[in-house]
Amino acid sequence: MNDTVIDPHVFDELQANAGADFVVELVDTFAAEAPTLLTELRAAQVAGAAERFRRAAHALKSNASTFGASRMATLARALELGGLPPDTAAVDTLAREFETTLAALQALARQ
């Protein structure tokens, strides 16, 4: 299951280039920052603020790609490029994917 959530090649390369200890730190930072961005996504959707919505989705896509979290990156990218959605259903899906991604990353980082 993890293989589809996190691209192992991207993650291995990240560890090799930046150092495994540093990647643990980086995952912790992602764990702290992403919920704020998800909150911003919801707030922007409610406020009808398309640009704010796009920016928050863009930031999540960017971070997910860094870790090789392909599925989460694909979901975030769809939000970034898709315009303001009518409800928060897609945001909820992304938030659930983030939880899965984070659990997988934390397991991989501490291996």
Partner: protein, 463 residues
């Protein structure tokens, strides 16, 4: 390695190695003959290479307990530049000198000049700035660059990045596009409008999609564009390449500054505008050194290089600008490109420069006579009047020029001084501008050959 003002330490600086215990300088591993004072001066400058060292401080270090004129110091500086290259010691007019060669990492001998570095040589550490509001991206980018051996600072928005760029020296900016306060595009626009920031190259890093964004960044002056997530191999290649280009540009700027230094309206960079021509009152100085062509060709050129270096120092020290170098002669303008410093104005500055030139040549001759070499003869002509000053030439080659009757008079006076066996001759306009000054009494009227009535001349006598 610290550059504390303590006991001079052994050190490796590019191609140069200073061995304190043996009092020896090695260049490319070979010991080089250096006078004792010159060695002390080098050790003093190298130990204080993190700052400009005032002349008084250097004199105190090299000639402890002695009262010594500035000129002795200039002669020793000139001797060091002959060995180390002119760029190794920078003259900061009015402040002093600074040793500019970076200390090499232990065991790694690196060439000091960028163009001489072989392709693929280990790049020197640089100071980089990362601007990204996304903490994960920022941390990762900083980490990657630090692992390449660079010193990295960061900013989490464009405004903070711009403030850092304006306040500190950076060799490269890695810029995200989407940021609060001031985004990457706005930062590039502000950089484009501020010539002081043109020297810092920018690599844009973004995960924005579409070539339009990339094109816009390049149009706004970014050097390169890297898509996020940034591939570390590509990052290293682009960073090294940008830093190498910057080193070459800095070197070109140095060369440009040697050819056309500090001119009004001259901005560094590709869009540098030539300063407007203007009509102004200035004092011109023509100097010529004779009796050098009897030497072997190589020695002649070496001697002239040293002479020119000393004369540049004398001119720049008085706020003048050397507008022409003719090998054994030079023309300098005072008060043309910018007002002469001090209340006494351009005539006084030119006279002081001439006096310093005379003293420098006397010291230089004393050094040469000790080694059995023939003395040089210096002739100087000084004239004041209205000139047209500005940049002239072709798009391929141009120079700062001064044109006017005063320029011709200065050249004629220099020729007359040569006929008289050297010395300094001054025209009537300069003498009148100085009368009332304490300097006037040192100028005595002289009879020109053939009873010339074209102009009056005054000779500069001893103090």
């Amino acid at each position: 390695m610290s550059a504390a003002d303590s006991v001079p330490e052994d050190g490796l600086f590019g191609r140069f190695e200073i061995l304190t215990a043996q009092r020896q300088l090695r260049v490319d591993g070979q010991a080089v003959a250096l006078g004792s004072r010159a060695f002390d001066l080098l050790a003093a400058l190298a130990a204080r290479r993190d700052r400009v060292v005032p002349k008084d401080e250097l004199i105190g270090l090299v000639w402890p307990g002695l009262v010594v004129e500035d000129n002795n110091l200039q002669v020793q500086i000139s001797a060091l530049r002959k060995v180390l290259g002119t760029q190794a010691i920078a003259t900061v007019p009015g402040r002093g000198y600074q040793f500019t060669v970076a200390a090499a990492a232990a065991g790694a001998v690196q060439a000091t000049r960028a163009p001489e570095r072989s392709v693929g040589a280990a790049p020197q550490p640089a100071r980089l700035l990362v601007a990204d509001d996304n903490k994960v991206n920022r941390l990762l980018l900083c980490r990657s660059l630090e692992l390449m051996g660079h010193e990295v600072a960061s900013a989490d928005n464009g405004r903070a990045a711009l403030a850092k760029l304006r306040g500190e020296r950076f060799d490269l900016l890695l810029l995200d596009l989407e940021m609060p306060e001031l985004d990457g595009f706005a930062l590039l626009e502000q950089r484009a409008a501020d010539t002081a920031l043109h020297g810092v190259p920018v690599i844009v890093t973004s995960s924005l999609e579409g070539v339009a964004q990339v094109a816009r960044c390049i149009e706004l002056g970014a050097d390169d564009y890297l898509h996020k997530p940034v591939n570390p191999v590509l990052l290293k290649a682009r960073v090294d390449s940008s830093l190498e280009r910057k080193r070459l540009r800095d070197r070109q700027a140095e060369l440009l500054a040697r050819l056309a230094p500090d001119l009004p309206g001259t901005a560094q960079g590709a869009d540098a505008a030539l300063p407007d021509a203007r009509r102004t009152t200035a004092t011109l100085l023509c100097a010529c050194v004779s009796q050098v062509d009897t030497l072997p060709p190589h020695d002649t050129l070496e001697l002239l290089s040293r002479w020119t270096t000393l004369m540049f120092d004398a001119v720049e020290e008085q706020g003048g600008l050397v507008s022409q170098i003719g090998g054994d002669s030079l023309v300098a303008a005072f008060g043309a490109h910018r007002p002469a410093p001090g209340d006494a104005g351009a005539p006084w500055a030119a006279l002081q420069a001439a006096r310093e030139m005379g003293e420098l040549v006397a010291l230089f001759n004393a050094e040469r006579s000790a080694s059995g070499s023939a003395a040089l003869m210096l002739s100087v002509g000084i004239a004041s009047g209205e000139v047209v000053a500005g940049q002239a030439g072709t798009p391929r080659r141009s120079a700062y020029v001064c044109v006017g009757a005063a320029v011709q008079r200065a050249a004629q006076l220099e020729a007359l001084a040569t006929q008289r066996g050297g010395g300094v001759l001054v025209d009537a306009a300069t003498q009148q501008a100085l009368s009332g000054d304490a300097a006037a009494h040192v100028l005595a009227p002289v009879a020109l050959p053939g009873g010339s009535t074209l102009m009056q001349a005054y000779a500069l006598g001893p103090d």
